[in-house]
């Protein structure tokens, strides 16, 4: 398979996901290009996280196909899907660090489980990853309970990047961070994306992240992608929900100040 011809990192076609009688995603289609940062916006409870969790195989789907790096992803969480874990790193909203392991062990966990490394090399790689996400080596022996919110996100990012995955999924990476920390985190994701050549799929509500780091933004409403494109285009969109999202009072104020 010729990698240069694979233009898309993630292809989602006609995806239907629901719980009980409720349909959350209704024939949704979405393409994520290789090497781009795609921001996904949508109402709270509108299915953004559901879409992300379905793509990574945590939620079973009713119909539709999902391809990640050209490989089809199974419909239910099984070993095949889990095997794809080498191709992606996931940053969960609350970090999801293993609370019984230190920061260093958390970052080493995917390395330990997937590769045969010497302990020395594993320590070096773990520290390297931590320093890449802007933490100091002194932090490596702390437990997750001792970390601040921003540090937890950074450690979770380091763990997500441990295996150098080509795709990175971020679930509200800047939520709960102060604007400075959020800005730093955006810059960090931008830098890492460039240096490591990552494809980033980011669920976010942070308008600043959308404008500064995202190459394209997709808007999810009524279970479908109603608009997708660079931020400029989305601001022009005529869809009522997208208009309400980007031209509401809050958004207007923010955008005005950013100009």
């Amino acid at each position: 398979m010729d990698e240069s011809q694979q233009e898309f990192a993630i292809r989602v076609r006609d995806l239907v996901v629901g719980f009980g009688r409720q349909t959350v995603l209704d024939h949704l289609s979405l393409d994520v290009r290789r090497g781009e940062i795609l921001g996904l916006v949508g109402a709270s409870g509108g299915g953004k996280s559901v879409l992300m969790r379905t793509v990574i195989g945590l939620i079973p789907r009713r119909s539709g196909t999902i391809e990640v790096m050209g490989q089809p992803i199974g419909g239910t969480p099984d070993r095949g899907t889990l095997g794809a874990a080498m191709t992606w790193g996931i940053l969960f909203q609350q970090g999801a660090l293993f609370s019984s392991l230190t920061v260093r062990q958390n970052v080493q966990f995917p390395l330990r489980e997937n590769l045969l490394l010497s302990q020395e090399l594993m320590d070096e790689i773990a520290i390297a990853k931590l320093e890449m996400v802007g933490l100091r080596a002194q932090e490596a022996d702390k437990y997750p309970a001792e970390l601040s919110g921003g540090m937890t996100k950074r450690v979770a990012l380091a763990r997500a990047l441990a295996l150098d995955p080509p795709i990175l999924f971020l679930d509200e990476p800047t939520s709960g961070l102060d604007p400075i920390a959020a800005g730093d985190f955006d810059a960090l994701i931008g830098t890492l994306q460039k240096t490591l050549g990552l494809t980033v799929f980011m669920v976010t509500h942070d308008l600043a992240s959308l404008t500064t780091v995202c190459d394209r933004v997709a808007a999810l409403a009524d279970g479908r992608i109603v608009a997708i494109g660079p931020m400029r285009e989305l601001l022009q969109s005529e869809h009522p929900w997208v208009r309400a999202y980007f031209h509401g009072k809050r958004s207007q104020m923010l955008q005005h100040e950013m100009r």
């Binding site: 019984s100 790689i125 990853k129 309970a145 990047l161 240096t195």
Partner: protein, 378 residues
């Protein structure tokens, strides 16, 4: 993509040219480590080391780090190392890797194992003192809460109390009945089996009656309740502590002891004597069934023997202990719950501690009561 990574070394005088080729990625890590190690001696010998990166087809952090380590090794002690031919899409990564692992933190000094043990022992001793303090503090807080309720009876959380009674009392009845029934039956069976040799079968009834009413009924029930409800209290209060619900209560001007702990402990104090009574009856019933089917002793004789053997004193001795045991279980469970810290692991540890500690204290308390009742002649 399937080709193996290579590392070509061309020494010229005291200069060394290293040319890594192929995919330098995590998937080939074993090969990479061997490769880097194999050129180690040559790198140490050479004054100038050049790393020609033009042959690398794929690179990730791990591969970049291996190369960076080689270059750092070469560049140590005044010698020089440089990368040439780094392609554009690897340069960012190489640049990033150059910055990391510059400051190795000092390893914690190895400590004497004997000192470590002594340290643990000292900590445990101080911890035991702290446990007693916390227990007494909780007892005091509960006492104050009870006084508050007596002064203003309307401040009692009746809904919560009834709900806790339902949970730890009513819902516990089936399992308590089953277990005490079996215990009663087992004791009776053992009694008949061994007393038969002396022809003293009829004394089995004395043994079952006295043992169950004075000691075992209440003890088994208390241990069951500690495991079933005490652990639930600790886990509930612990997760509320973790999610800052208890802090939220305090900031609203409510005392967590009034709102959460008093109804729970009070429910235990009310429910445990009732459960102990039901349990004792079930045990006596179990003993009776064994007497009929194993000991050839009809129900009428069993009840008559029971009537002669036991007095209301035996029952009082047993049932008087129950509220105190309930108090101990409740205080230990609630204070352990409040000691939970941020992590899920701490919740598990505190729940275990709560159960172990309350069962231990229940048994100690039972022993103290035995001495007390003996000395007052009950």
């Amino acid at each position: 993509m399937n080709s193996e990574p290579l590392l070509l070394a061309t020494p010229t005088g005291d200069a060394l040219k290293l040319r890594p080729e192929g995919p330098w990625t995590a998937a080939n890590v074993a090969t990479l480590e061997t490769l880097s190690r194999s050129v180690g001696a040559e790198v140490d010998r050479s004054r100038i080391v050049t790393l020609d990166m033009s042959g690398v087809s794929a690179l990730d952090t791990l591969g970049a780090w291996e190369l960076e380590k080689l270059s750092r090794r070469a560049a140590s002690s005044g010698r020089s190392a440089e990368f040439v031919g780094v392609s554009d899409h690897f340069s960012g990564l190489m640049e990033e890797v150059r910055q990391v692992n510059r400051h190795t933190p000092a390893r914690a000094a190895a400590t004497n194992p004997v000192l470590l043990r002594l340290n643990d022992l000292g900590k445990a001793t101080i911890g035991a003192r702290e446990d007693i303090t916390i227990f007494l503090q909780m007892l005091g807080a509960l006492f104050m809460a009870v006084i508050g309720v007596l002064r203003r009876p309307r401040s009692l959380r009746l809904t919560s109390l009834v709900y806790q009674l339902y949970r730890i009392g009513w819902q516990a009845i089936p399992i308590i009945v089953l277990i005490t029934f079996l215990i009663g039956a087992i004791i009776a069976q053992q009694g008949f089996f061994h007393f038969r040799r002396f022809g003293a079968e009829s004394y089995t009834v004395d043994m079952v009656g006295i043992l169950v009413l004075r000691e075992l009924g209440v003890l088994i029930v208390a241990i069951m309740v500690a495991g079933r409800s005490g652990s639930a209290y600790t886990a509930e209060l612990g997760s509320m502590k973790m999610r800052e619900e208890i802090d939220a209560l305090s900031t609203m001007g409510l005392d967590p002891v009034d709102v959460l702990i008093l109804p729970r402990v009070a429910a235990l104090v009310i429910a445990l004597p009732i459960l102990a009574f039901i349990g004792s009856i079930a045990a006596l019933y179990g003993g009776g069934l064994v007497a009929q089917f194993y000991g050839d002793m009809g129900p009428a004789i069993y009840i008559a023997r029971l009537h002669e053997a036991i007095s209301v004193t035996h029952f009082e001795v047993g049932i008087l202990k129950a509220p105190f045991m309930a108090l101990v279980i409740g205080i230990v469970a609630c204070s352990e719950g409040l000691r939970v810290k941020g992590s899920a692991e701490s919740l598990g540890r505190q729940t275990t501690t709560s159960v172990v500690k309350s069962i231990f204290l229940v048994i100690v308390l039972d022993g103290l009561f035995a001495i007390f009742f003996a000395s007052i002649g009950m």
